[in-house]
């Protein structure tokens, strides 16, 4: 076992631990912080896979944006020090059953499926290459999604502002 | 720092002694190091109640400039400071507040009573129904600086006396200071 595998398993374990803490923690602010740590660990895994750009993306958007937004909304809607109410027993049953069954099934699939590597000349996932593909109109180009993203974001911005600023109704 | 400055008052407490019973300034180098750090980095709480606080501010200001000694890091939160300079009158209404502030400070902590009011109630000693007659009734005081108000040099002198006291005391003992009576 080399050092990088060790690091991978450590990171994986941390990711899962923090993920579990996120869903199990009864204090909502703590849950958000655990989510954050879990996301950071995932970014670490990306770095380990040499997907630096994705890792940076993960941190910039998830950690710097989404978690901050979630934390602010927690402040706005929650008595953040309070414990969350306990789960409903009926749903809890489903909530436990479904994941366990799913996990069993998917691990069966994973272990039984032969994953075959295709292709020969790997492309380094550098920002440069990503950029080139992003601005490309070829078959593998992503110029349309790129522009679509801007429209999507504009739409979501407008939408969320409209929704968030809707006046209170009597 | 040279602790043998002759214009500072004599340290009355027990300076620490080595086995031969001689007073020595350095018992252990750790003690000395800790004391050196503490005495040269006294961060005061920005606390002042009345007239003396203005002289305290003068001491901060450019002409007297106590930052030369490294005291200028005035912290507004008691959690981060080492020293309260009680500058001004303490009334019975203020006393619990002062006590609370003092209690919220982390160890080691020091107190300087600046001005007649803080020492004894000063001009308001007699006939006043609301003035605490000396802050040492509430919290233990390390150095007293008389004056009404003491001039900035006097405050610096008091601070240096405190430095001397720190240098000469044991680093790992919280000194039990006498507390004369409970406040109201």
């Amino acid at each position: 076992m080399s050092a990088s595998t060790i690091i991978f398993y450590i990171l994986a374990a941390l990711t899962l631990t923090f993920g579990a803490l996120t869903v199990f923690s009864r204090k909502i602010f703590r849950a958000a912080v655990f989510l954050l740590l879990s996301l950071i660990c995932i970014a670490g895994i990306y770095i380990l896979m040499e997907m630096d750009f994705v890792a940076a993306l993960q941190i910039v958007i998830y950690v710097g944006g989404i978690v901050v937004l979630i934390i602010f909304s927690i402040f706005l809607t929650q008595k953040a020090g309070e414990r969350l109410p306990s789960r409903l027993p009926k749903r809890l049953l489903w909530a436990i059953l479904l994941p366990v069954a799913g996990l069993a099934f998917s691990s069966w699939v994973i272990f039984n499926h032969p994953f075959a590597q295709t292709g020969t000349a790997p492309i380094e996932p550098t920002v440069h290459n990503i950029g080139l593909q992003l601005l490309n109109y070829d078959q593998y180009g992503y110029v349309l999604p790129f522009e679509a993203v801007s429209i999507l974001l504009l739409a979501s911005l407008v939408g969320s502002i409209i929704i968030a600023m809707k006046k209170k109704q009597q | 720092m040279d602790v043998k400055k002759d214009f500072l008052p004599d340290y009355p407490g027990e300076a620490y002694k080595d086995e031969n019973g001689k007073t020595s300034f350095i018992v252990t180098s750790v003690d000395a190091l800790a004391n050196w750090g503490r005495s040269n980095s006294l961060w005061p709480l920005s606390f002042g109640t009345s007239c003396c606080a203005i002289e305290l501010m003068s001491t901060v200001s450019a002409k007297y400039d106590w930052s030369r000694f490294g005291f200028e890091v005035m912290r507004a939160s008691p959690r981060q400071c080492d020293l309260i300079v009680v500058a001004g009158t303490i009334t019975y209404k203020m006393a619990p507040v002062l006590k609370r502030l003092y209690n919220q400070m982390p160890e080691p902590r020091y107190v300087i009573a600046m001005g007649a009011c803080a020492i004894s109630g000063g001009p308001f000693f007699y006939n006043s129904y609301s003035v605490v007659k000396g802050v040492d009734n509430i919290i233990p005081v390390d150095v007293y600086i008389p004056g009404c108000p003491p001039r900035p040099e006097a405050l610096i002198h008091g601070m240096m006396s405190l430095q001397k006291k720190i240098m000469l005391s044991k680093a790992y003992v919280i000194e039990k200071k006498p507390k004369e009576e409970e406040d109201k």
Partner: protein, 104 residues
């Protein structure tokens, strides 16, 4: 990194996925549910990146999908938070049960 088998990465991602599922179903609080969704999306991202890395290294498809998923996640979060705030303002609670019982 090559020495980590792909299956392990996939196990990681699917465990994370089902953790998210669990959270999504067991929680009554909309914001915690949203956080669970984030976990689910992240597990999917891990999958994409891993597939790209292990199976299709000559392409960048997985990276791009991750990129767009993250983007969509951001859009989704901003919208859903807006909705949650709005709901909160209307019902003064963001508990899923309570909001259910109140008629829209």
């Amino acid at each position: 990194m090559e020495q980590v088998p792909l299956t392990h990465v996939l196990i990681l991602s699917s465990t994370l996925f089902f953790l998210g599922i669990y959270g999504f179903f067991s929680r009554r609080n909309l914001i915690t549910m949203l956080m669970s969704i984030e976990l689910i999306l992240n597990s999917i991202n891990i999958n994409f990146v891993a597939f790209n890395k292990y199976l299709y290294p000559h392409q960048l498809e997985g990276v791009f999908f991750t990129l767009f998923i993250i983007t969509v996640a951001a859009a989704e979060v901003s919208l859903s938070i807006a909705i949650i705030i709005n709901l909160f303002r209307r019902f003064n609670t963001i508990d899923i049960e309570d909001t259910n019982t109140l008629k829209f």
